[in-house]
Symmetry: C2
Subunit: 210 residues, 2 copies
């Protein structure tokens, strides 16, 4: 409990900083391999001529995700969390300074692949976003309820695979809404580009107003 209180202190400081600098910070969470990095590479590529995008990416080991994001032009910092199963607000606060995140910019925080721990650690973000791949099964919002309860947006990804898997989109949405009535929903295929316009529309709708 003390760990969470301490983290909330750092998160509060991050949030103040983000509001002050109009940095739109989004915490992107999911199981391993649901498509976080793929979605972010598509997003950076989409905005590359008109929006500064920074990314803090957490992984236990390797720089593999950062390399992909840097390739498409993101201002990226890889944080290796080792045994730690989530990013925390303290790490994020330091990373923001290291990255020299610009005012009026977009900051994605790709969390460690994990549907459990990241739900418990506020980072000072504007919104929490959870990706769920159709390959994981539609009952995940019930089984990992804490994550879906704190998420503002659920992105159902890999819809291109729907013909080959047992996944009931309506049931999944129903489950998520039973846990969190206000959760927003998008469905897309990050690799094929389907539904990405609705994601860019959501980002536009949520951004700081001038």
């Amino acid at each position: 409990q003390n760990v969470f209180a301490k983290n909330d202190q750092f998160a509060f400081n991050n949030k103040k900083y983000f509001l002050d600098k109009k940095i739109m910070a989004l915490n992107i969470m999911s199981s391993p391999g649901s498509g976080k990095t793929t979605l972010l590479t598509k997003t950076i590529d989409n905005y590359k001529n008109n929006k500064a995008i920074s990314v803090i990416v957490g992984d236990q080991h390797t720089q593999l995700d950062a390399e992909k994001l840097i390739k498409v032009g993101g201002n990226v910092l890889q944080v290796n969390t080792g045994r730690m199963c989530h990013l925390d607000a303290h790490l994020v606060g330091h990373a923001v300074v290291d990255l020299a995140v610009k005012e009026n910019s977009l900051l994605f925080i790709e969390n460690v692949g994990n549907l459990v721990c990241p739900a418990l650690f506020n980072l000072g973000e504007m919104h929490k976003i959870v990706l769920l791949s159709v390959t994981e099964g539609d009952n995940k919002p019930l089984k990992y309820a804490d994550m879906f309860r704190v998420a503002d947006l659920m992105i159902i990804n890999k819809i291109d695979l729907l013909p080959y898997v047992e996944f009931d989109i309506e049931k999944c949405i129903e489950y998520a809404q039973s846990i969190n009535p206000h959760i927003e929903i998008l469905t897309l295929s990050a690799t094929q580009g389907k539904g990405l316009n609705s994601w860019y529309g959501w980002l536009d709708e949520k951004k700081f107003k001038d």
Copy 2:
């Protein structure tokens, strides 16, 4: 570190008990939705006339997995771990008593869906098994190395989806072996039944000899 030392104490006690009673205890781990429960339902169904099978299944919330396993005739206990991101040896020790696991039987422990935390908590098992779905991407053994380092067996699941995803089986195996040279590998499709015979063969090879 104290948490791990304490857990190892309980794990040691579990292991002694399992050896004494010839209970073949297997710790089944993976990301959310990689196919643990599906594999176990197929396994229980396969052995139902000639092997007593017990299952301890850990999930943050719900009895959904236990219900599926009970339906096919398993002796099952659902443990809800809430905010805890893994099963631990203390919980497992109690569950074994509650389940009255028979001597000379098979005990599967389906861990919480998580590639990070379960790798750090010994349960007293005979073997650690990690499932990886082809939909998650082939670089997972590198990014979540701690899990693949402690696993005795890696099961690559959902091979029926290979035509529709980017997954290089040989690369994935290479990555896993770079982390853990002794790791054994099986590939299968739990839903379609492909490769299940190799899994039953592995179970047979590893069982206690009389």
